[in-house]
Symmetry: C2
Subunit: 252 residues, 2 copies
Amino acid sequence: MVSITKNKLKYIRSLQQKKFRQKYNKFIAEGDKLVLEILQSKRTKIELLVGTADWVQAHASLLRQIGEIIPVSERELKQVSALPTPNQALVIAEMLAPEIIPERVQNDWSLYLQTIQDPGNMGTILRIADWFGIQHVFCSFDSADIYNPKVIQSTMGAFLRTQLIRMPFEELTNRFPDLPTYGAVLHGNSIYTHAFPSKGILVMGNESKGLPKDLQAQLDQLITIPAHRVSGMESLNVGVATGIICAALRKG
Amino acid sequence: MVSITKNKLKYIRSLQQKKFRQKYNKFIAEGDKLVLEILQSKRTKIELLVGTADWVQAHASLLRQIGEIIPVSERELKQVSALPTPNQALVIAEMLAPEIIPERVQNDWSLYLQTIQDPGNMGTILRIADWFGIQHVFCSFDSADIYNPKVIQSTMGAFLRTQLIRMPFEELTNRFPDLPTYGAVLHGNSIYTHAFPSKGILVMGNESKGLPKDLQAQLDQLITIPAHRVSGMESLNVGVATGIICAALRKG
């Protein structure tokens, strides 16, 4: 059993904060299942693994590529963990280097998130993209940080199976000028009756402000999830709305 | 300007906790917009309103039925508020007395939530029900408390426009034996191809465990949102799944 030094403890805890994640280009992920997914996905390099001695022994064959492994007691794991109930293992890994796969973007649906600011919504939308096989999720620079530990934990590994790329919308449409662009708004065409093509870019806007007018003006189609009656509601949660529209895109 | 007594301050703060909400049968709601919605909905009796002096003056005509009104300074409002940025007014109101409107249940879709435990999901589902005009949301006794202040704030008034009723599933089906019952599971019939009737009960299960087998066995139909490919995902967030299925029910 190796002990965790004070400096290492401080380093691990620092990654709960965005500024340190950015400084080191690292993030933290916890729990048996998520750690195994990260190990198996091979999309990132793991710098450090802290796990209970039993867990480390049980998964030894998977751990060969890891820079440093610290087997600990459950009590020690509790010291480094940010979870209310630490679950066997925790890793520090390099942030992913997302890639645009041009032929995939060209022939499929992608998402563009304009100023999605809530980390919970960001995590939910990545799960939706993963569920519906939408591989590319683009977002504006002012959207939430997916490496927020709460997002990482809540996406249940979806961040490993999608390409999340920050770029201005104009850059995306300049690169793929032929793709039809769709924006979700409150007074567009009904998603129930629209015949969606097999590819395109679905643009979702900010939680409270929706899509800016100047962005709407650049889009080919504005679409809406019809409210069943004139309810008092102004909008659905953006994650829910994304799910409903993705289901409509994929139903064909 | 009246001051808030220490006892009153203590009472207001106590309502952040479920045990005191249940003891007093009261809940707390904050913010200009939500407070106005509660006042206008007339679905609950307001015991106490704490508002900035300007706000109280501006809405005097709406405030006649209220037991006690305490106009305060912004600084005082901050003392009683649980919001990071208090917003003009706060009320303590009686918990709603939800009602079953039999002819509505009999002729429309309703939801049944089996052990939905996350307050955020509960709030999201109430917003979805409101959006799609689903008036009755039934839930098991072990589902989350909607009077959790975070839920109340996040539903944006949807709790005022739906009837949320706790009862065992069997009681609901005994009362409405002719309604078709649908359960969301991972390996059911595709929602894309199923012809939904114009009424029924949609049953959604627990966040991690889904619907218990014995409950599944009681249902007429098991339905699924098809994943677009065999992704690594086990499930969509239950709020998102509820939204997607409700859209499918209502598209006809």
